[in-house]
């Protein structure tokens, strides 16, 4: 039974954190280079601008769902299953989502890097 809970948690983590990552990446691209903004307008302007982006709030909500799913998963399932499985699947899901929704140029180099990291994460947990 706890196995099913663990995989349900993993599925939820992957879905929620991919949604969150894409929304946050989208929001921050709209805000623009934070380092430059910080030098020109100061910290408060940066925080204000980030908080005023509606997709940012949605992204944080999705991240909160992912965070609490992770807490659930960790309290039920094995750390050695939940952590690497959700991390590896999130890497791959994010690469696909970034290509589809953010129109990032995900070339061969980035795919190889993503898959290397995902496989490495799984191997480290074996």
């Amino acid at each position: 039974m706890s196995e099913i809970y663990a995989w349900a948690a993993i599925g939820l983590i992957v879905l929620a954190s991919t949604t969150g990552d894409v929304l946050l990446a989208y929001s921050m691209k709209r805000v623009g280079d934070v380092g430059e903004l910080l030098r020109r307008r100061g910290l408060l302007a940066v925080i204000g601008r980030v908080l005023k982006t509606p997709t940012f709030t949605a992204g944080v909500l999705a991240m909160a769902v992912a965070f609490y799913s992770l807490l659930f998963g960790l309290s039920w399932g094995n750390l050695s299953l939940v952590a690497p499985a959700s991390a590896a699947l999130t890497f791959v899901a994010n690469a696909m989502a970034a290509r589809i929704f953010l129109h990032e140029r995900v070339g061969r180099r980035r795919w190889i890097a993503t898959l290397l990291v995902a496989c490495g994460v799984v191997l480290m947990a074996l």
Binding site: L23, M28, L71, S75, L102, H103, T114, L116, A125
Partner: protein, 148 residues
């Protein structure tokens, strides 16, 4: 990519790794949380390990947002996975833990992945990206919008 930007990427790896470790430690203290006692999840924040973990994850989040403002998501994610390698190296050289061959192989794969993505461009060229952001405005923001 300036030195400061590489520092931000390093901050993402370090803070995320340390924060997650503290969280895992705290959750082990608490034990299982059942679906019928969801309040246990809210109270989890009162555990000092979890509180410290959350503080570090906040630092991670600030670095992460900063990186996403000047680099692609598909660049930031693989480039900041060095944390996994760090944990392995600290466990071996700091705490003299045995590391199996498969774990060393995993560490090597991740390090290779990081090197691979870091050697490439960090952001999709500007003009195309502007088009992409404008084009995806409808697809991304609509399902994400939260209305009370």
């Amino acid at each position: 990519m300036t030195f400061r930007k590489y520092l931000v990427l390093a901050g993402i790896s370090l803070f995320a790794t340390a924060g997650d470790s503290l969280l895992a430690r705290g959750m082990k203290n608490l034990g299982g949380i059942s679906l019928h006692h969801l309040s246990g999840l809210l109270l989890a924040i009162l555990n000092p390990w979890i509180a410290a973990g959350i503080l570090l994850l906040l630092a991670f989040f600030a670095c992460y947002l900063s990186a996403l403002s000047w680099a692609d998501l598909t660049y930031v994610l693989p480039a900041t996975s060095l944390g996994y390698v760090l944990v392995g190296l600290i466990a071996h050289f700091g705490f003299h833990e045995e590391i199996s061959l498969t774990r060393w192989l995993g560490i090597a794969l991740i390090a290779a992945g990081v090197g691979f993505v870091a050697a490439g461009p960090s952001v999709t060229p500007a003009r195309q990206h502007q088009d992409a952001v404008a084009g995806s405005a409808q697809t991304v923001s609509q399902p994400g919008e939260v209305r009370p």
